[in-house]
């Protein structure tokens, strides 16, 4: 029963990991840039939701679209003014640019908000539902459901909207996209904004059960990379499946290993996947 419970927890956790990582995967899939600052955009999303709660009284679940919007704009201009200028540079320049962005965002938050850990207070925080002998925590469940909804929305957007089609076209063949009349530079800006916005959305919905601080992103960084590499860099559906897989692994390893070793399991999976199947485990399945 403990295992069933762990798997359930893992799925709920993993759905959110999926959304967070989908953003990273989208950025890589479209731009071919690994955004090392992705986790810091998650942290920014958490702060947006936190302040929306603190000053406007908004529930983080309701503030999540706001977090998405704010971070979308931030991402759009980060791409337009910074990352976009090194797109054709060697990977080293891209790596260091996003690493610089990571340091800037993290410490910018530290300067602005201090190092305090902050958390919100919502009525359902410690509630839950019984499902036979299983326990479903309310904040985890709500976060999971929101994650599923936004993933569905993204899927619809990418499949149906002109902008969504343009993003996929640019990701697959920028030259052919240009010949179809798509402005690739603008599409990159939108894709980057969308990618970090989704991750920020994920940051907001987990706020009811997690604290925010300037370093809140860091703990998600390797996790996100693991999910994305597992699902295949650039594959957004892979990221969702990868997220749930990682959620379950993390949850199960919590039963088997001391808490510090939970991440070790992830790292080792991460390196093994990179080494053996850099195209991702789920790709082509």
């Amino acid at each position: 029963m403990a295992y069933l419970q762990a798997i359930l927890d893992g799925i709920l956790l993993g759905g959110v990991y999926g959304v967070i990582s989908t953003g990273l995967s989208l950025v890589f899939g479209v731009l071919g840039v690994v955004n090392f600052a992705q986790a810091e955009f998650l942290m920014v999303g958490m702060y947006v939701a936190y302040f929306a709660w603190a000053y406007l009284g908004l529930d983080p679940l309701i503030a999540a679209p706001l977090a998405f919007g704010v971070v979308f704009v931030l991402g759009f201009y980060s791409q337009k003014l910074l990352v976009g200028r090194v797109m054709s540079a060697p990977p080293a320049a891209q790596i260091f640019l996003t690493v610089g962005l990571m340091i800037t965002l993290e410490n910018g938050a530290l300067v602005l908000f201090g190092s305090d850990f902050r958390s919100v207070n919502v009525p359902y925080q410690i509630q839950g539902f019984r499902l036979g002998e299983l326990f479903v925590s309310a904040p985890y469940l709500y976060a999971f459901l929101w994650a599923v909804v936004i993933t569905g929305a993204l899927w619809l957007f990418m499949a149906r909207s002109w902008t969504g089609r343009a993003i996929r076209a640019v990701a697959q063949d920028p030259m052919a996209a240009t010949l179809a009349g798509i402005n690739t530079a603008r599409t990159y800006n939108i894709a980057f904004g969308l990618g970090v916005g989704l991750t920020a959305f994920g940051g907001a919905v987990i706020l009811p059960y997690i604290t925010v601080s300037p370093t809140a992103g860091v703990q998600f960084a390797v996790l996100m990379f693991t999910v994305v590499v597992l699902g295949g860099l650039g594959s957004t559906t892979g990221a969702l499946v990868g997220g749930i897989v990682v959620g379950i692994i993390q949850s199960l390893s919590g039963l088997l290993f001391p808490i510090q070793l939970q991440n070790l399991v992830l790292f080792i999976i991460f390196i093994l996947v990179l080494a053996l199947r850099p195209q991702g485990l789920l790709k082509g399945v």
Binding site: F28, V33, V34, F36, L82, R85, V86, A89, P90, P91, A92, A93, Q94, I95, F96, L97, V99, G100, L101, M102, I103, T104, L105, E106, N107, G108, A109, L110, V111, L112, G114, S115, P214, V222, F225, T226, V229, L233, P258, Q260, L261, N263, L264, F267, I268, F270, I271, L272, L274, A275, L276, P278
Partner: protein, 339 residues
């Protein structure tokens, strides 16, 4: 011909470095700062062999740095082996770790390689934190005080450390230089952008990258040992740190000038005192300001001049010679931003 001003500058820097302790308070903070500058210059120089010459950008050099620190210290604490010897054993272990990480990652380039090395360093950090019975866990390790004991790598004064570090920097720089101008350097530069062409004219790409990684790892481990002998105390989060070790080494090299001999030295001389000054000046301000400035400098450096501060050299030379500063406007902007 172009190497000449750089050579003179290096010589001047060396002489200044040798004489510096005469002018600075041996117990003062600045001698320690200069020691730190040189350790990081040396480690960044070691990183530069891989990241600069072979173009394999590692974001996990903290792994080798930390291995050097832990191996020498654990050998000393548990078996009484002098860190002088432990340092060499640490370098060997790090070279082995370098070879190990090479096997699965060698086919990876660019982003994938950076990610894999980053994860490798994180694995090391987690192991060091978890394996408390051996490593002391998150509490960290303190090097037992032995007074003035040169054989055990311990001194009361900062000055001997300072000269040891200077020697280390010179050794690592000489290794870098030897590689850069030697046959091995030709092979490394050949494979960095055009591995297929390199292999077709006879370069064994796998072996060349592997050897570069092992040398780079071993030298970084030496820096790790010297660093902790200098600071006496360390924990997993400090020596295996992503930001303060891995990224910092890469950043020093890139800000100074990727793949150049003088780059890491310039980069360390520029960044670390800047950080020190920022911390001193801004200590009353919120924490993070110095790091924030760091991030901004890194972004600016890449956007303005991806080749680093070294690229300013020719521009400065033209100015010094009184010639018409024919530099394009972005060069001028760069001068104002960075110098």
């Amino acid at each position: 011909m172009r190497l000449k001003p750089t050579g003179i500058l290096l010589l001047v820097l060396f002489v200044v470095a040798v004489l510096l302790p005469l002018g600075l308070d041996p117990r003062g903070n600045w001698l320690r700062v200069m020691g730190t500058v040189m350790i990081f210059a040396a480690a960044a120089q070691a990183w530069n062999i891989m990241g600069g010459l072979a173009n394999q950008v590692s974001l996990g050099h903290a792994a080798f740095f930390g291995i050097g620190a832990y191996v020498s210290t654990l050998l000393y604490i548990n078996f009484g082996i002098s860190p002088w010897i432990g340092m060499l054993i640490g370098a060997l272990v790090a070279a082995g770790a370098g070879a190990l990480i090479c096997l699965p990652t060698l086919r990876l380039t660019g982003h994938y390689f950076a990610l894999a090395t980053l994860a490798f360093a994180e694995v090391c950090r987690v192991i060091a934190n978890s394996w408390s019975s051996v490593t002391g866990g998150p509490v960290g390790l303190t090097i037992p005080f032995a007074g003035d004991a040169p054989m055990l790598f311990q001194f009361r004064s900062t000055v001997p450390y300072y000269y040891i570090i200077l020697a280390l920097l010179v050794v690592v720089s000489l290794v870098f230089w030897r590689i850069q101008v030697g046959a091995f350097g030709y092979r490394l530069r050949a494979l960095r952008e055009t591995p297929e062409a390199a292999s077709v004219v006879g370069v064994n790409v796998f072996r060349t990258k592997m050897i570069a990684t092992m040398i780079s790892a071993a030298l970084t481990a030496l820096c790790g040992t010297v660093f902790v002998q200098f600071t006496f105390f360390f924990d997993p989060d400090s020596v295996f740190s992503l930001t303060t070790i891995s990224i910092r080494l890469a950043m020093i090299a890139i800000v100074g000038g990727l793949g150049t001999l003088i780059g890491p030295i310039i980069g360390a001389l520029f960044l670390l005192p800047l950080e020190e000054v920022a911390i001193t000046l801004l200590s009353s301000q919120a924490s993070g300001v110095a790091q924030l400035a760091f991030g901004v400098v890194l972004i600016a450096a890449i956007l303005i001049e991806p080749r680093g501060l070294v690229a300013l050299g020719p521009w400065i030379m033209r100015r010094l010679k009184g010639g018409q500063p024919s530099a394009p406007s972005d060069m001028t902007a760069k001068g104002e931003t960075n110098v």
